[in-house]
Chain length 484, copies 2
C-alpha cells in the first residue's frame, strides 16, 4: 500500500463503477434501500446490482456474481448475510475491485465468532489491496459526484462528516438538513476493521471541497495519529467533534456498541484542546458553530458588545455571555458619545446597548461597536430583522389603512435592507464577528434573509448566540497560539 490515503480513498468517493452485492427487489431488505439510493444518485457511474436469484433489480440488469460484471468494478457495496461476506470479498479480489463498503453487520460487535469472521474478511482484502469501510456501517456519500450508498437526500455543502455510528450519523445528517446546511462527503465508519476514522479525517483534511470536518467519535483506534492530524489541520480547517464516553456508563455503552475503548475523558478533553479540536456536547451546537466559522472573522479577544432592542434581551444575553466565560466591557467615553448621536436619549448609555425600542439606531450602533477598540465581537439581540409580515386577514382593514400599513412596512424594509451591505462591509473591515439573534419572524425578515444569503446566519435565541461566540473565542485563541 504505497499509494497515499487520498488516492486510495478516491476509489471510495469517486469510483467510475459500483457493484451492489445484495441489491434486492424486496423493500424489507437493506439491499433494497442501498441499491435504490445508489441507482437514484449515481451520475456518470456504471452501476451493477448483484443478486444470486434475480435477473433484474428495479429494472436494472442484475448479475449473479461480481465476477459476471462485464466491465471493471472500482467499488463494491456489500449488503449480504455476514457469513457470505468472505466469499464475496474473495470474488471482489479476483475481479480487481479497489474499494468496498461493507454494510453487513454480524461481525466483531457480536462476539468472538463475529470477530474471527471480520479478521478473515480483513485478511482477504489486505492481500488483494482492497481498502474497505465497515463492516457494520450504514454507508457513505460524496455529493460532488452524487454517489450515495446512504443519505440520498443530503444536499451539497461545505461540511465533511465521519461518524462511528450509522444511526447517529444519519441523525446528524438529518439535523443538518433541517438547518439548511449541506455536506461534501459522509462516511459511517462502522467497526473500522480496515479503514479507521483517522484515514477519513486525513482524506477530508486534504479535500479542498470540505471546509469544516465534523466527527462523531466513540473511541479512537489511532489516538496519536488523530491528534497529530488535528494539529496539522485545525489552524486552517476547523474540526468539530462530538466525543461520547464522558461518563463511565457512556464509555461502557460505547464499548458494547462498537468495541471501542473510549479512554479517559479528561485525557481526551485536554488533547482536543491542545490540538485545536472544537468539542461539543450536542449535535445542534456543531451546526451553530459551523455556520459562524464559514463566514465570520475570528474574534481577537473575549470582549463582547451587545446591541438590543429592549432590556430583557440585553439582560439574558449578558447573563449568557458571562456564564460562558465572555466579557462585557464598559464602553469608552468615545463610544458612548458616538452612540448618543444615533440613539434616543433614553438608551442605556452602557453595555448592553439597550436602544429601548428605538430600532432606527440599530445599524449605526452595530457599526459603532464593530469599530470600538475595546470590543472584539458584537452580539445583536432582537435588534436586526424587521418582520415584514403582511396581515393574514387584509379584509379586516379598510383600503386607506391597508395602504398606510403597506407604505410603512415597505419603508421599514427598504430602510433596513439599505443598511445590510454597509454592515457586512464593517464586519469585514474591522475583522470582528457579528452574531445575530432574531427571535420571531426570522423567515419573514428581508434583512435576515439577505444576511443569510451572505453567510451571516440568524440564530434563534440570545443564549445560542452567546454559546456560538464562546466557541469562536476559544477556537480563535488556539489559532492565535493562546491555549487555556
Amino acid at each position: 500500500m504505497t499509494e497515499p490515503i487520498s488516492k486510495q480513498l478516491d476509489y471510495l468517493f469517486n469510483p467510475r463503477s459500483v457493484a451492489v452485492l445484495g441489491a434486492s427487489n424486496n423493500p424489507g431488505k437493506w439491499g433494497f434501500g442501498t441499491f435504490d439510493t445508489v441507482r437514484r444518485t449515481a451520475k456518470d457511474i456504471d452501476i451493477y446490482p448483484i443478486n444470486p436469484t434475480s435477473t433484474e433489480i428495479m429494472g436494472v440488469l442484475a448479475y449473479k456474481s461480481v465476477l459476471d460484471v462485464p466491465g471493471p468494478v472500482d467499488l463494491a457495496v456489500i449488503v449480504i448475510p455476514p457469513q457470505t461476506v468472505p466469499g464475496a470479498m474473495r470474488e471482489c479480489a479476483r475481479k480487481g475491485v479497489r474499494a468496498a463498503v461493507v454494510i453487513s453487520a454480524g461481525f466483531r460487535e457480536t462476539g468472538e465468532q463475529g470477530a474471527a469472521l471480520e479478521q478473515e474478511v480483513l485478511e482477504i482484502a489486505r492481500e488483494a489491496g482492497i481498502r474497505f469501510v465497515g463492516p457494520n456501517c450504514n454507508g457513505h456519500f460524496n455529493t460532488s459526484v452524487s454517489l450515495h450508498t446512504t443519505g440520498g437526500g443530503a444536499r451539497p455543502g461545505p461540511l465533511g462528516l465521519v461518524s462511528q455510528s450509522g444511526n447517529f450519523g444519519g441523525h446528524i445528517l438529518g439535523r443538518g438538513a433541517e438547518r439548511g446546511i449541506g455536506f461534501t462527503k459522509y462516511v459511517s465508519s462502522g467497526n473500522e476493521a480496515d479503514l479507521h476514522l483517522e484515514d477519513y479525517i486525513e482524506y477530508l483534511a486534504e479535500d479542498n471541497e470540505t471546509k469544516i470536518i465534523l466527527a462523531y467519535i466513540e473511541g479512537l483506534k489511532e489516538g496519536r495519529r488523530f491528534f497529530e492530524l488535528a494539529r496539522k489541520t485545525t489552524k486552517k480547517k476547523p474540526i468539530i467533534v462530538m466525543k461520547v464516553g464522558r461518563t463511565d456508563e457512556g464509555a461502557r455503552a460505547a464499548q458494547s456498541h462498537t468495541g471501542s475503548l473510549s479512554g479517559s475523558d479528561a485525557v481526551h478533553e485536554a488533547a482536543f484542546r491542545q490540538s485545536g479540536v472544537i468539542r461539543v456536547d450536542e449535535v445542534d451546537d456543531m451546526f451553530d458553530i459551523a455556520l459562524a466559522l464559514l463566514r465570520q472573522p475570528l474574534p481577537r479577544g473575549r470582549r463582547v458588545g451587545i446591541v438590543t432592542g429592549g432590556g430583557g434581551f440585553g439582560v439574558v444575553a449578558t447573563d449568557a455571555c458571562r456564564r460562558m466565560g465572555l466579557e462585557i466591557p464598559v464602553l469608552t467615553g468615545e463610544t458612548v458619545l458616538t452612540l448618543s448621536k444615533y440613539l434616543q436619549p433614553r438608551w442605556s448609555h452602557g453595555n448592553p446597548v439597550d436602544m429601548a425600542g428605538d430600532t432606527q439606531g440599530s445599524y449605526p450602533s452595530l457599526g459603532t461597536l464593530l469599530k470600538a477598540e475595546n470590543i472584539d465581537a458584537v452580539l445583536a439581540v432582537g435588534s436586526v430583522g424587521y418582520p415584514a409580515q403582511t396581515p393574514t386577514d387584509p379584509e379586516r382593514y379598510d383600503a386607506a389603512t391597508r395602504e398606510r400599513m403597506e407604505e410603512y412596512r415597505q419603508q421599514m424594509i427598504d430602510g433596513e435592507l439599505g443598511l445590510v451591505d454597509g454592515l457586512i462591509e464593517r464586519i469585514d473591515r474591522h475583522q470582528k464577528p457579528l452574531i445575530i439573534t432574531a427571535s420571531t419572524g426570522r423567515g419573514q425578515s428581508p434583512a435576515i434573509i439577505k444576511l443569510e444569503k451572505n453567510g451571516f446566519y440568524g440564530y434563534r435565541t440570545p443564549e445560542e448566540g452567546a454559546r456560538v461566540l464562546s466557541y469562536l473565542v476559544r477556537y480563535a485563541e488556539y489559532v492565535r497560539g493562546i491555549e487555556d
Copy 2:
C-alpha cells in the same frame, strides 16, 4: 381594596368594555398596533378608540376623551406620551374605569423625573381603586375571551405567562408558537408600579384554565410572598421560571432595565428549589418541560431504561443521562429474559437496550421496561416512529416496485400504529414517564403524530430527552417531599 386579587384582575382579563387611549391610524405609532390587536381579537366586548384629533380609528367611531364614551369602561389601555398619562389616569378615575394597562414608557426606567411621574400616576390610580399593569410594558391577553392588547396571534392553550420584559415575553410567546403550544393568559408586567409579578402569579395559581405557570423574572419585589405562593402552588400546578441575573453583569443589566434588584443568585436558587419552582436557563427548556408535565406521570426515582434502534443513540443517551444526574441501572435477569423473547439474539443484553436495528421489537421492549421494577422512567431514542415518507420521485420506480414499496410501507405503519394504544395504556398503568426522541421524519411518522395527539411529545434529540427527564425527576422528588 378589599376584593381578592382574583376579582380585581378579572377587570383586566375579562372586561366587558375596553377603551384604548392613544389609538391611532398611523402604522408607525404603537397605538396603531395596540388598537388593531384589540379590535381584531375582542369578542363580545365593547371597544372604544380614544384619540384627541381623529373621529374614527380604522373605521371605528373614536372619542376625544374616555369621559366621552357613552357606556361604562372596565379596562383602559394607555398608549400615549408619558407626561400625558397622569391626566388620562384622572379621567379614567372620573369615568369609573376598574383596571388599566399602561403601555407608555418614559417613567421610572428613565431616571428621577420619570420616577416622580410614575409615583403621580400610582397615587391617582390608588385613590380611584384602579389596578394597573405597567407602565413600560407591552400588554397582555386572555385567549379564552379572546382579548389581546399584544400577541394577537397566540393560540389558546394550557400555559400562563408573566414576563418582566415585554420584548423577552414576546420572544417566549414566539418560541411557544413555533413549538405548537398555546397560552391561556399573558401579561408583560413592566415597571410594576402597582400590580406586581406576585399578583399575577396568585391570579394564575387560582385560574383553572392555566395548567402550568411560566415566568420570566429579573427581580422579585415581594420575594417572601412569591415563595409562599410557590410553596402553596407547585405541588398541584408547576411553576417554571427563567430568572436572570445569575452573573453580576447580568444583575446590573437587569437593574438598569427595570430597576429591579436581582438579589443574590445563590439565595434565589435555594429558594426556588425549596419551593418546588422549576428554574431553567434557556427558553426552549420551558416548553420541553411543560410538554412533558402536561401528560406524563412523574417518575418515582432516577433510574432510566433506554431503548434504542442502534448503538450510537444509546451511547449518546447514556452519556447525557449520566451528565444530568440520572441513573442507568443494570437490568434484572427477569427483564433480560423477557426482552430476549422479543428481540433478535444480537441485542445488547443490557441497558441501554440496543435492538441493533431490530425495530420490530421496539414496542414490546418499551412495555417491558415500563413494567420493570428497577426502572422509574423510559427513554426511547430512535426506536419509535417509522418515517412513512413516500418517494419524492415515484416516476423513477416501475409499477411492480412501487406496489411492493407501498405494501411494505403500509405494513410498517399499520404494525406500529396498532401498538400505540397499548403503549399509552402501559404508561398509565405503570405510572412511569416515557420520553420519546425521534430524530428524522417526525412530522412524517403516523405513530409520532398519534402519540403527540395523545399528549406525548416527540423530542428531537437524545440530549433533549435526557434533560427533560432530569427536570421531571427533580420536580417529582420535590412533590414527593424529597428535596436535594
